[in-house]
Amino acid sequence: MSVGIGNQRVVDRFDGDSLDERWLTNIGSGSATFAMIDAIDEGFSIETSLGNNANGEISFGNKKQYDGNKFKQVSIWRRAQGEGQVLVGITDEPNGILGSSINNQFNWGDSFPATFKGINFNDGTPSGSVADSSVPIDTLFHRYKLEVDVTTGKAFIDGLLEITVTTDLPTGSVQNAVFVRRFSAGGVTEGQIRYCEVYNF
């Protein structure tokens, strides 16, 4: 058994009394709360406030050590509540805000009221692309994987390949990010994450 450990890699299990200090929290709008959860297998919580577009995110403080077209990310998370979205992936946006139409990014998302989970991806030009999986949105934990090289982006869920794209792929250096946003309706939106691993290959 072996694993390619030569390149940059981070593993976070979201345990302990608080978020590991390597992460930086950011609030793009509203007054999000960030907390380690006191519950079995629920990891770390990002919860938005009320208000249109209220959002909170965690990232590596714009320390971009990952290669936008040669990285993989494995994560376990869920949209726990709310009529908003949770996005987990990579970006060159300084604060870890995912889903923009202008940044290099590639991320999995669970967005209410979409029918299916999907990916957002962009090569940094003012456009942005989306692609749906066949997996309905829900509030359960799933295991997500992203795999991007210079020609192909792949997105897996619970071990199964769901999406393959070949255009609008990110380039350049990027950072790890978890992003939670409330839209205009419902109560607060909460995302919970209990594992995240990112590495260059």
Binding site: I40, K72, V74, R143, L160
Partner: protein, 206 residues
């Protein structure tokens, strides 16, 4: 077989939805900030050792002391299906070292732990639920590092010491969610400080 990520290595199968799983190696200048230091009686100082394989040390004051590191009641672990593994060692006399899972910061009764105490002849499995049960192993206490592995299941708890099953308990099993903890005791005080050491900790739900 080649794996390309850590999660695949520790998963039973590709795509497994891994439950909470924590690993700590105790290196660097100080323990990570996600640990909370709790003093129940007296106080202890936690410091990274400057010695080969030294890990993290806990040093008591010269009075009787009971202290622990924990997650400040962020309890991600099952009372009926979890494992905790630690490598730690005792001081020469009148000290206690403990590794396991607990609730309510040690004084709150509910716990599963492996302990060594100089007031007992052998290393011991402790289960704390409605009451407390101590089950001796056959391994005499000493001041060497040992690998402790405690497991809690719906109907029993067990302690494996250095790879061997040494103690099993079916009474006073915890009934509430649990958090990792490392404990130290100065059993007598009397002007003597005590130091215990910890160089690995791991916990996961099953």
């Amino acid at each position: 077989m080649v794996f390309d990520n850590v999660l695949d290595i520790v998963s039973a199968e590709r795509g497994e939805l891994k439950k909470s799983w924590f690993v700590e190696w105790f290196y660097g200048t100080q323990e990570k900030a996600y640990w909370t230091q709790t003093n129940h009686q007296g106080s202890a100082t936690w410091a990274m050792a400057d010695s080969i394989n030294g890990g993290l040390t806990a040093t008591t004051a010269s009075a009787q002391t009971r202290a622990e590191l924990n997650f400040n009641n962020k309890r991600h672990y099952n009372f009926d299906g979890a494992v905790a593994i630690g490598i730690s060692k005792l001081d020469v006399d009148n000290s206690t070292v403990a590794i396991g899972l607990d609730n309510l910061n040690f004084t709150g009764i509910q716990a599963l732990s492996a302990e060594g105490s100089n007031v007992q002849p052998f290393f011991i499995l402790i289960t704390r639920g409605a009451g407390t049960t101590g089950t001796f192993t056959s391994v005499p206490i000493d001041t060497n590092f040992h690998k402790f592995r405690v497991k809690i299941a719906p109907t029993f708890a067990e302690l494996r010491l250095d790879g061997l099953l040494e103690a099993t308990s079916t009474t006073n099993l915890p009934t509430v969610k649990l958090q990792p903890f490392l404990g130290i005791g100065n059993n007598v005080g009397g002007g003597n400080i005590r130091t215990t050491a910890y160089r690995y900790y791991e916990a996961f739900n099953i």
